[in-house]
């Protein structure tokens, strides 16, 4: 990242803000965080990947139990089955009803078999959509916890349309007329993560990653050797600081010293703080606004050039954020 370029852009934004009185404080904060983000070696990055996959990290249901006063898990897609790898339900958060959704890993082998290690099938994504639309109907915000290596790559998964189920969620979640806030709490694995990742605001816990392909998968393709995963991980730029810098996520939720697994309650408390802060902001908006902003946000993602200009369209997202109605 060219720091001079970033500094220059910050100055531009500040003068813009003075002239037009638009609020760009969060954008400036984001840019400044990039400046203090030092260079990491592939080994440093790999340590983060291992932390993200640590089997003792708090799971979706554990986080919910920490932060919600009351929670009722709701099951089933009303068509085929109930997927234990993707759970959801209604909870109270400081007295306010919210709908929670999240990938669910097990704590031990037996649980993991039942939970399919957090690899969801189509019925999981369809349940998520059903519950999200139920939340929308009754004006409840939707909070999602992303923690999956990916959607399950299996025969049954293909037969029942894992692609269709994720695709439908991408479209339908974009249109929800209620706040949606997403947290990557462990592994953010590709389409399986994105299937519950279309939020007005998306956050990552400090020791997590979010990637189009697993480091191992990437290494197999790049080096024909999955053991080169650390190098691949470094190439993929999949850490929270990377994604914050790219404008893909909206913030990083700090973890306790040593990582989320060392103190579940404190990790959950940090998440709760962020939810409440985000809700304060999002609940001021109408359902229409929330849907339009969410769509606009994702419509603006991507980096490319258009012929006739020498600049990459690097600040397209920032630009869009400032123009949001």
């Amino acid at each position: 990242m060219d720091q001079t370029q970033i500094q220059k852009k910050i100055q531009e934004l500040q003068s813009l803000a003075e002239k037009s009185s638009v609020d760009i404080q969060s954008d400036l904060k984001r840019l400044q965080e990039k400046l203090v983000d030092g260079k990491m070696t592939p080994d440093d990055i790999w340590k983060k990947i291992l932390l993200a996959r640590n089997a003792d990290r708090p799971t979706t249901l554990e986080i919910i139990n920490h932060i919600a006063e009351n929670f009722l898990e709701l099951h089933g897609d009303r068509a085929f089955g109930d997927d234990a790898a993707l759970v959801g339900g209604i909870g109270l958060l400081d007295g306010r009803p919210v709908t929670f959704l999240g990938h669910q890993k097990g704590r031990n082998m037996k649980e993991n078999i039942r939970r399919n290690y957090g690899w969801a099938h189509p019925e999981g994504y369809r349940k998520a959509l059903r519950l999200a639309q139920e939340a929308e109907k009754f004006g409840r915000p939707v909070i999602t916890f992303i923690d999956t290596a990916g959607a399950f790559p299996g025969l049954a998964s293909e037969e029942r349309g894992i692609g269709e189920s994720i695709a439908r969620n991408l479209k339908e979640f974009a249109m929800l007329k209620t706040p949606v806030i997403c947290f990557v709490i462990g592994e953010g694995g590709s389409g399986g993560a994105l299937g519950i990742g279309i939020g007005n605001e998306v956050y990552m816990l400090e020791n997590t990653f979010y990637s189009v392909i697993s480091p191992e998968g990437c290494a197999s393709l790049l080096y024909r050797d999955a053991s080169e995963a650390a190098d691949a991980a470094a190439q993929l730029k999949l850490l929270p600081t990377d994604l914050l810098g790219f404008g893909i996520v909206d913030g990083i939720v700090p973890e306790p010293d040593g990582g989320a697994h060392s103190d579940h309650a404190l990790t959950a408390a940090h998440i709760k703080t962020q939810i409440l802060e985000s809700l304060k902001r999002l609940e001021q908006k109408t359902g229409e606004q929330l849907a339009r902003e969410r769509m606009t946000k994702f419509l603006a993602m991507g980096r490319f050039v258009e012929e006739g200009s020498s600049k990459p369209n690097f600040f397209q997202r920032l630009f869009s954020l400032n123009r949001r109605a």
């Binding site: 025969l155 479209k171 249109m175 389409g191 392909i213 993929l236 790219f246 991507g302 980096r303």
Partner: protein, 287 residues
């Protein structure tokens, strides 16, 4: 200024650059070559194939075709007018070797990217086309593919012309990392806009269509057609076999399998595609 000509400008109602009247560069796959049908092993002349829409006259096997061939076999002669050609890939992660791979694909296909957008007419009906080419880095979808698909879809919403997407892809483009993943969300959000505008989206799945493409716009058509015997899936067969540790059934992930499983509205041979799309356009009025 190019920075400000993206999706956002469209949403904000700003002027877009006019489409450029550039003839589509014709780089045929089948020029001056002899072919053996991979299905029935018949020996075929390139001319014979071209005259038969690149379908084996002996067994009906549908050869993979490139964008030029798709355009020529589909739309009214002379009606295709490319747009968004000026959008080009960068290397946002500084991924090693990415520029070289882009260069190879550009040279091999004569295209700037894996997706080509165009205005065209099909039996006199105006449509917006967005066509993927597997020969361009395996039809992988990065920021440019996502942007082009998105603009084609929003162009359809604005002009109220039906949008037709031809898919073929190995999945998302690893070299663009998270930007590539987000193209799934982006193209799907564009389809949400199209849906709100009540303008139809027709998807034609062609061989092969995999990964993030199958988990986004490919499955979001109002009507989803597939060419016969195309391979279509989310995870590839090898990944699945290594997961479930057993052989996959005969015909797995073929068009006919997807039809049986409920994900494809109809399998349409290439020779029927024009007529079928014309019928769908007529029965999905946008006025």
């Amino acid at each position: 200024m190019a920075l400000f000509t993206g999706v956002i400008d469209r949403l904000l109602g700003r002027q877009q650059p006019l489409p450029r009247d550039i003839a589509f560069k014709d780089e045929r796959s089948f020029v001056a070559q002899k072919h053996s049908c991979p299905s029935c092993h018949a020996h075929l002349e390139a001319g014979e194939l071209e005259n038969n829409l690149y379908v084996c006259p002996k067994c009906g096997h549908h050869f993979r075709i490139n964008t030029a061939e798709r355009v020529r076999t589909l739309v009214d002669a002379g009606s295709f007018q490319e747009f968004n050609q000026e959008i080009q890939s960068i290397n946002p992660l500084g991924f090693p070797g990415y520029e070289a791979k882009l260069g190879e694909s550009k040279a091999a296909t004569g295209q700037g990217e894996a997706v080509v957008n165009g205005y065209a007419s099909i039996e006199g009906r105006k449509v917006i086309l967005s066509i993927m080419n597997f020969k361009f880095m395996g039809g992988s979808m990065g920021s440019v593919a996502g942007e082009k698909l998105t603009r084609a879809i929003l162009e359809g919403a604005e002009k109220r012309h039906p949008v037709i997407l031809f898919t073929t892809s190995g999945g998302m483009r690893m070299q663009e990392g998270i930007f590539s993943l987000m193209q799934m969300a982006k193209s799907s959000a564009a389809i949400a806009q199209l849906e709100l505008a009540q303008v139809p989206l027709f998807v034609v799945l062609t061989d092969p269509t995999y990964g993030g493409v199958t988990a986004s716009f490919a499955m979001l058509g109002d009507v989803i057609l597939a060419e016969p015997a195309a391979s279509i899936g989310f995870a590839g067969p090898r990944i699945i076999e290594s997961t479930i540790r057993q052989k996959l059934p005969e015909g797995f992930q073929k068009s006919e399998f997807l039809l049986e499983k409920g994900f494809v509205d109809a399998i349409v041979p290439r020779s029927e595609l024009r007529r079928t799309l014309a019928f769908l356009i007529d029965t999905h009025p946008t006025e």
